[in-house]
């Protein structure tokens, strides 16, 4: 059970991230789409937080020995020795076979779960590559060998693959600065349709939409940010925090996206429409 990285593309090692160091400026990091990482591990019978590969494409893996693998998250044009492979269906890469993930069909992040999970060094209790804080337990490059841990359970596939759904009606809770910005401004913001702008990344999703003219004029003291926090910038953009978010910020937080829906939003491509549903409290 060993894989050799032939081509890296934009690929990192991710698990469920780091806990306990945010007060020192360390982001939670971990999978951008945590639901898909956990699904990959469940389908392989792994521990749910086992380390996987997270890629936006350009990845090629060579099996040095028979290795159990599954693909979840964004659907991709994956092939094993030039034969298409199914999404959410564990398969064995026979020794000598080559898995290619050149491009995505929908969504942004594909997870390559590996039976036994990726072993290797941890930093601050996690194997996740934090792209903003530059914490890199295992730096991937062509030629590197990945060693999975011992397998624990039995692999099973899904009859119907789970793919990233659209980003209509993301559930949002009220944010701590809603009053400051004006409740009516926030309600108006969450009634409208927004659009994902900028290149996908692991730090934040930027949304453009209506002009809001918030009454907010007071600068805030820097305060802690959490994954899913929606900051309203002076340019009337909404910036939603993802896994590698900065630990503190200064723009008002007008809402917090529910954790499962942060996973959906992380998979949204540039130009995707986003609408909201206020959580009932």
């Amino acid at each position: 059970m060993t894989l050799i990285v032939e081509q890296v593309g934009f690929t990192t090692v991710q698990d469920l991230g780091r806990v306990g160091w945010a007060h020192l400026g360390v982001s939670p990091s971990g999978a951008a789409d945590r639901t898909s990482l956990q699904l990959a591990n469940r389908l392989l019978g792994n521990w749910s937080a086992a380390a996987t590969l997270e890629t936006t494409g350009g990845l090629a893996l060579l099996a040095a020995a028979d290795t159990g693998v599954v693909l979840t998250g964004a659907e991709c044009n994956a092939s094993l020795d030039d034969k298409a492979v199914a999404h959410c269906q564990p398969f064995v890469m026979p020794a000598g076979s080559l898995l290619r993930i050149p491009t995505m069909r929908n969504g942004v992040w594909t997870y390559i779960g590996i039976a036994g999970g990726i072993e290797g060094p941890e930093r601050l209790g996690s194997r996740s590559h934090d792209t903003m804080g530059n914490i890199v337990p295992l730096s991937l490059h062509a030629g590197i060998t990945l060693h999975p841990g011992p397998t624990r359970g039995t692999a099973l596939g899904l009859d119907t693959p789970i793919v990233p759904s659209d980003t209509e009606r993301l559930t949002v809770d009220v944010g701590p600065h809603m009053n400051l910005v004006g409740n009516h401004v926030c309600v108006r913001a969450f009634r409208r349709t927004w659009s994902v702008s900028g290149e996908p990344n692991r730090v934040a999703v930027r949304l453009t939409g209506p002009s809001l003219h918030p009454r907010h004029s007071e600068e805030l003291h820097s305060f802690p940010l959490v994954r899913g926090a929606i900051q309203l910038t002076p340019a009337d953009e909404l910036v939603v925090m993802l896994a590698d978010h900065p630990t503190t910020g200064g723009y008002p937080v007008v809402g917090v996206v529910s954790p499962r829906d942060v996973d959906r939003l992380a998979q949204a491509r540039t130009g995707s429409r986003v609408t909201w549903k206020l959580a009932v409290t």
Binding site: W21, H23, L24, L124, G175, P176, E218, S222, P224
Partner: protein, 219 residues
């Protein structure tokens, strides 16, 4: 960066929800947040309530937690507020001394803009006791409160793409030491060999919220 003047009348401390997985203690007095963090961690530890991260802002503390624990953690936060008077005065560990070579490329510029000699900039910077108000920006980067008003300058108009690790800097009402090489828009006064960040150490950062610091001229 907020200045004291930009914040109107002091607000009453408050406890609010911050999504299903976090709770916030906000509008704390200046300097109180690190103590509130300690008090919250103590209370959670004695009652066996698990918190994930307890993060400090300039005037706030945020705890992340399981979704079901929000109400009990917010109760604990209210308790922390009620008993805050004694906690804020608790004596902390001795100040960390950081030896600085005052050879920063912005030292002359800072002196000119603050209308003083470089020697008096150094004197003012070394005779001040700073305290870590909060960490952010990058792992181990501590915002050091206490900068004398005579040294308060806005950030550089154009940030540098590379500031070397160990750079000692000031901007707005803060001083800081860059723990690792990174981009940065602060005014560089000097450099230190003091290791501020090491992922293999526990804790990885030398400077944590509430830590007191003194800069001394490196011999």
């Amino acid at each position: 960066m907020p200045t004291e003047e930009s914040v109107r009348e002091p607000r009453q401390p408050r406890v609010v929800e911050y999504g299903p997985l976090a709770s916030m203690l906000d509008h704390l007095p200046a300097g109180a947040a690190p103590h509130a963090r300690e008090a919250l961690l103590r209370a959670c530890s004695t009652t066996g309530i698990r918190v994930d991260d307890v993060i400090v802002g300039a005037r706030s503390v945020v705890a992340t937690h399981d979704p079901g624990l929000g109400p009990v953690i917010r109760d604990i936060m209210h308790d922390v507020l009620r008993h805050s008077g004694s906690d804020y005065t608790s004596e902390s560990a001795p100040a960390v001394e950081i030896a600085v070579r005052y050879d920063g490329i912005d030292l002359d510029d800072v002196a000119r803009r603050c209308d003083m000699t470089t020697d008096s900039v150094i004197e003012l910077h070394t005779k001040t006791e700073f305290v870590v108000e909060f960490c952010g920006f990058s792992p181990g980067f501590a915002y050091l409160a206490g900068l004398p008003s005579a040294l308060v300058l806005p950030r550089r108009a154009t940030p540098r793409t590379r500031v070397p690790a160990g750079s000692v800097a000031i901007a707005a009402q803060y001083s800081a030491v860059y723990p690792r090489e990174s981009p940065g828009g602060w005014h560089l006064l000097g450099t230190t060999d003091h290791l501020l960040w090491d992922e293999h150490r526990r804790p990885p950062a030398t400077l944590q919220p509430g830590t007191r610091i003194r800069f001394v001229v490196a011999s």
